[in-house]
Amino acid sequence: MKAVVIGCGRVGSSISLQLQREGWDVSVVDENEDALSRLGEHWPGVFLVGHGMDTDLLREAGIEEADAVVVATDGDNTNIVIGQVAQKRFGVGCVVTRVLDPARARLYRERGMRTISPTEVAIGELMEAVRACEVPTPTQVVHR
């Protein structure tokens, strides 16, 4: 199975390494060549330097044969556009796009994109964690 990961920061690099360990054939695209170091010393997959909006580069990365594309650059709007290009131009069935802003993540999700908002996830988890704490409920607080 073939995956293309666009954006090799903390998130993109971890996903790339994990997919690769799970047996995927992974191509990684990042604007900055130093990002390769995030993939460890012996990255066996493809690593291309360039912008994810560049369709020639995406082709070179093998997007036309990709089973999955993960879009995780540090720009929400860049991700939204690349995600749509992967889906609509290249017809990739599984395109997962990171969008930090929950409002835009929700909107594009409603429009058929698989968007994940780490902010939304964090808010949910933090709320869960707060609820799990054993604190007196407001009515139990006694004012003196």
């Binding site: 909006m53 720009g75 929400d76 556009v81 290009v85 609509k88 409002a103 835009r104 429009r111």
Partner: protein
Amino acid sequence: MYVIVAGGGKVGANVARSLMRLGHELTLIEQRRDRFERLEDEFEHQVQRGDATELFVLERAGIARPPDIVLALTGDDEDNMVICQLAKEKYGVPKVIARVNDPRNQAHFDLLGISPTICATSSIMAMVEHEVPEHELIHLLELRKENLEIVEVQIDRDSPSAGKRVEKLELPEGARLISVMREGKAEIAVGSTTLEAGDQVLAILEPGKEDELRRVLLRA
């Protein structure tokens, strides 16, 4: 008319200024603090600070009214694309116009159905091509929505069409001649118009018919 202008750089600020002078109501949105502060002196309450790709910023600017036009004029193509999508698809803005900064992104604007777009680089290139004396076929205007384009063709001495009447030309289906420019004067091309070497001919055609048109007009 109510207009939202996203991006307060040279392009956005000047467009906003012109619209104001014409008496239109508008809101200009600029993200950078230094720019915003400079604009505030001039535009006062008509400029707002924020990221125009954030829904709450657009809503604060009155996108839900909705405005008659949204102009996405930032220096970032992805931002412009998202602004247009939000305006059109979420808020039902009837007209959006987007600035294309990098002509290589034009295909992405087209893919997302964002039209019309305007790209300074492409416009300059079209004008440069126009100045090249021995150009053969150049694109002057693309009417994306109509799926038509207007091109200019220069007839030379060896062209098979030189000396022929327009009605005798076997123009491809989906292509028509509009006008003939000769010695600085333009005339509408009709069936009886005879083409001559040196003529600059305007034609309207469906994209992709250029080669056929070239064959008929320029080389056998």
